[in-house]
């Protein structure tokens, strides 16, 4: 007979009439096994059951912590933070408190509430001064900056940990790939459509150039023919409208492209980076 099957049968038989603490130990192991096999919904149920029957609060840290992790894995970040807070509150040791605190920070990074994560990290930096903790704080600061699209600041944090840190290369790539929003705008001020060309939107650039030339021509022609009112109206309502649209568009395109670049970099990090991730 299969060895595992025998173990299961023995465990099942002995599980009856076990003292309360043994029951809880088994329950914790059962919940852990569900967690390890990525059955997070069921794992949460079993950890909750464990906490419910744990009258002596022996599992109040580990149970809440694992529920938080399960919710985080399932993308339920608000619930995850709620349970990490409970874990922090119920931690008997400082190391447990710190572990839960870092999870709150990491979940905030994932949730996109990076400012909250950064505030927690600043607070931690005041409380802790050993080099290992400070390294950890800088590391998650770097991640928080990456998620808030501040790649220069992220690079600075990773450089302070190690000048050859793997993530510096990624930050550099993003910084180099990004378009200058000011340049795109200025370029379009000087030559309508040029900012769109710069960001790779050629059709839009041509349309913008065409519209500006056409309405500019009519405006100038009206002034030359002494039809001042026509000139003012055409200039204001049409030429300037397209001229303003042209540089606003260039700015929008540059911003959009930058978001795409940052998102692509974050996606790549999630898939390819082997180090610790939020």
């Amino acid at each position: 007979m299969n060895k595992n099957l025998i173990i299961i049968i023995i465990i099942s038989l002995t599980a009856f009439n076990l003292p309360a603490q043994t029951n809880l130990r088994w329950q914790a192991a059962y919940a852990d096994s569900l967690f390890a096999s990525a059955q997070y919904f069921d794992a949460i149920t079993e950890y909750k059951r464990l906490l419910f029957f744990d009258k002596e609060n022996k599992y109040s840290f580990s149970g809440n912590y694992k529920i938080g992790l399960s919710y985080k894995k399932g993308g339920k970040f608000d619930d995850a933070i709620k349970y990490f807070r409970l874990a922090e509150k119920n931690a008997k040791r400082d190391s447990g408190k710190l572990k839960a605190k870092f999870q709150i920070i990491r979940t905030n990074i994932l949730r996109g509430t990076t400012e909250i994560a950064l505030n927690h990290l600043r607070q931690l930096a005041k409380e802790l001064n050993d080099s290992l903790s400070l390294k950890k704080i800088r590391y998650w600061k770097g991640w928080a900056f990456m998620f808030s699209d501040k790649w220069d600041s992220a690079k600075a944090e990773f450089t302070r940990i190690n000048p050859n840190h793997e993530l510096i290369k990624i930050c550099d790539n993003v910084i180099n790939q990004k378009y200058s929003v000011t340049f795109a705008k200025l370029f379009s001020y000087i030559l309508p459509g040029a900012g769109q060309f710069y960001t790779g939107h050629y059709l839009s650039g041509l349309m913008s150039l065409g519209m500006n030339v056409l309405w500019g021509y009519f405006t100038v022609k009206a002034f030359i023919a002494d039809r001042v009112f026509d000139g003012i109206v055409t200039g204001n309502l049409l030429w300037f409208r397209f001229y303003r649209g042209n540089f606003q568009n260039a700015e929008k395109f540059a911003l959009q492209k930058n978001i795409e670049i940052a998102n692509e970099a974050l996606r790549k990090i999630q898939l390819e980076y082997k180090g610790e991730k939020p």
Partner: protein, 272 residues
């Protein structure tokens, strides 16, 4: 590979403990898990309260159709029948199936324990849909003094809901560009439409007068485009205005009813 089939500690999974844990989950609003515990408990023992709680849990999770199936399955002789029937009616209301609610209430006998409650729901439903409101005296009859004052306020708002006519908005903008928008409450847009249409029209006229036929036709085309857009925009503005008023009214009413628990009894004792 982890052994997922690790044995469950039997004691914690005994029916009695499942029920206790299910009740805890139910009262901490974790309804999906509570349902699972209750259903496992029911495999061992029949219990009307637990069955009722499953229905309520589905209702709280806004799974109204499943909840209604649970409440509909109670036989008349069951002790929970009146409450289940009441929830069954309430679910028509929550699903916004107001005519079905009214038909069911009309079919229910007056000796039904919760007849006043379902009748009240049926009257409240008139405040939501587009059917004519019943007489306010009949409406008031089903509410107590404090309830009357509150609900009649919404009755009056519904009766005098400020609405703009789409035809009038379109016609006004056809006569004077932008006037329809002003009528629909968008004064700034209305004035802009008037200026743009006026200027474009003038440019078309001025270019024809100066013998610039191409530009004349170009501006005429633009004028026609903006003129048509102004009429369409005015009708849309009136429609948006009406929807905004209706949505605001319905949201406020819904919040009020939720606060008042739809003038129905609550089941707080289930979590004591």
């Amino acid at each position: 590979m982890p052994i997922v089939l690790l044995a469950q500690p039997a004691e914690l999974f005994q029916p009695g403990n499942r029920l206790k844990f299910g009740n805890y989950l139910f009262c901490s609003n974790d309804y999906l898990r509570a349902i699972d515990e209750f259903q496992n408990f029911l495999k061992y023992k029949k219990n009307d309260t637990v069955f009722f709680k499953i229905g309520l849990a589905y209702e709280k999770m806004r799974k109204y159709d499943i909840a209604q199936l649970y409440f509909a399955s109670y036989p008349e002789k069951n002790a929970f029948y009146p409450e289940a029937r009441l929830e069954f009616h309430k679910l028509f209301f929550l699903k916004k199936e107001f005519s079905a609610l009214r038909e069911n209430v009309a079919r229910t006998g007056k000796n039904f324990e919760y007849y006043p409650e379902i009748k009240r729901l049926s009257y409240i439903s008139y405040l939501f849909d587009d059917t004519d409101l019943p007489d306010s005296n009949n409406f008031k009859l089903w509410f107590n003094n404090s309830g009357q004052k509150k609900i009649i306020r919404y009755y009056r708002i519904k009766l005098n809901l400020p609405q703009k006519s789409l035809t009038v908005a379109g016609m006004l903008s056809a006569v004077i560009p932008g006037l329809g928008k002003i009528y629909a409450g968008e004064t700034g847009d209305g004035i802009t439409a008037l200026i743009v249409n006026g200027l474009l029209g003038f440019l078309a006229y001025d270019n024809f007068r100066a013998g610039h036929k191409f530009r004349g036709w170009l501006f005429s085309g633009l004028t026609a485009f903006f003129y048509a857009g102004n009429i369409y925009g005015s009708v849309a503005a009136a429609q948006i205005y009406n929807n905004k008023i209706k949505t605001g009214y319905k949201q406020e009413l819904e919040m009020f009813l939720e606060r008042e628990n739809y003038f129905l009894p609550d089941y707080k004792n289930l979590c004591k």
